[in-house]
């Protein structure tokens, strides 16, 4: 059974792009530990019930559509942007310019 720690919650929150506050961490540790404790029974289920035929139930199939241009309401979608200019989304600067090229 996996042990959930404060450090692992902080790490997973970073991966999830969610800022969590210090006082929230312990609650998440408890909640997540409870979920994973409960889910650890899955290993037993696999051992107990696996059959050689199981793989045939879900056969993935490709679903394609004609490769044709679809109408796209660009203007309408851009209107929803928190910040935009000339059909570009404006976000905080990612690469800082340092000196001249």
């Amino acid at each position: 059974m996996k042990k959930i720690t404060r450090e692992s919650v902080i790490k997973i929150a970073k991966i999830s792009n969610i800022e969590i506050l210090d006082h929230e961490i312990d609650q998440f540790v408890n909640d997540l530990q409870a979920v994973f404790n409960y889910a650890s029974s899955l290993e037993d289920a696999v051992k107990k019930y696996s059959k050689p035929t199981e793989a045939i139930i879900y056969k993935p199939v490709n679903v394609t559509r004609p490769d044709a241009q679809q109408p796209y309401p660009t203007q309408k979608l851009m209107e929803q942007a928190p910040k935009q200019e000339e059909n570009y989304f404006i976000v905080p600067l990612i690469i800082k310019q340092t000196g001249s090229l």
């Binding site: 970073k14 969610i18 969590i20 409960y38 289920a45 199981e54 679903v63």
Partner: protein, 485 residues
Amino acid sequence: MNNLAFASIQTLQEKIRNKEISPQELLTFTLNRFAQHDTKIHSALEIFDEQSILQDLPTAGSSTNALWAIPGLVKDVICQKNRITSCASRMLENFRAPYDATVVARLKKSGALCVGRANCDEFAMGSSTETSAYGKTANPWDVSRVPGGSSGGSAAAVAAGFVPWALGSETGGSIRQPAAFCNIVGLKPTYGLVSRYGLVAYASSLDQIGVFTRTVSDNALVLSHLAGKDEHDSTSRHVVDTDYISQLTGKIKPGLRIGIIDNAFNVDGFDPEVSQALENALKQFEKLGAKLVHLTLPLMDYSAAVYFMVSRAEAASNLARFDGVRYGLRVSANSLDEMYAKTRAAGFGKTVKQRILVGNYVLSAGYADDYYVNAKRVQELLRAQFLDAFKEVDVLFCPVSPEPAFSFDAFATNSLAMDLLDYFTCPANLTGLPALALPCGFTSKKLPIGFQLMGPDLSEGLLFATGHAYEQSTQWHTQYPEAFV
């Protein structure tokens, strides 16, 4: 009693056809019901203005259509063009849908009127409608209790006699559980029967849109207008016959075999009054001529664990798109990473954050094999076990919940305990099978009790016919919450 409020779709249609009431009068009546009574239960996040609703009504030439001018409510995770689709979240507080979901487009084409947005758990995550960022919905039968969830607003509005139909969505039981808590009928269709285009995704491999109504025949009628292939949803299925009404004969199929999932009745904490009501329902089916077969589906006991892993993993992936860049909430910050993290911290509620964290754990190295891969294997075995059962029986009978609607905050300090209620409902989502919940009685405190019938893929016609025969032999569906009559 107010006859219009609890009238069936068929009755309303007859009144419109006979010109006893005009579409506008019916709509005004509906909007007044919300204005007068929804302050008690808060089923709707928004009711649209009359003129904008009527704009969508096709011309009177289509008045022969069974849904023409029939008002209904749409869960606020389903896009309605130019209307806000908030998912009951701060994240999408001002988001306006650029298009109609296929289900909404089909209903509008059939003449149905979508009058508003139903409250629900945030991003459809919850079993009580308590996680909505815009306030809780109350159960019309007892306003100190939850209506169930996540589609609680849809269920409450139908139960309270505001509208004869509402759309909900299910990932682990979000239609059937509120239907059972509110004494109405709720269907989770076969995965792929109804298009998900325009449904904000929670766990795409499990999500399915379904219908709430007060009677089985109304449910069959609305589904007839929703079902079928949609080019916009690659998981939607080609279906030949979607006329579910003609199959309602009032009788069960001769020799019908009903499988009773015994292990689902042996769960700890079963309310004795719920047990008794379920027993009575089974006796009623026997009277109708059904043969009862006891069986066990041991893998069902792992279904909640499978559901937690699969749904959270998919949720973490689906909800990654809400980052403040293209639409929805944005919290300003100096760097892009900080903007993402602050936006998602401010936009999502606690339950949504918790499920995203679980999902990203499930998918991360060191966890994926032990949890996600195992969950997917057990999911396949579970489906195989259900399909095997349908070699012996025609439909399966199962509780929806071991207890009636619970009080607000009953699970405030133990969210896992509430999530475990999914045990009864999530097998249908994990296996893709259809399931129909319907009323079968009340507790001594007059709280509704329901049961569910599950069937093989695309057996909606059989479920409706069986449920209809039961319903017509009982009086549960003719009882309405007193405060709204």
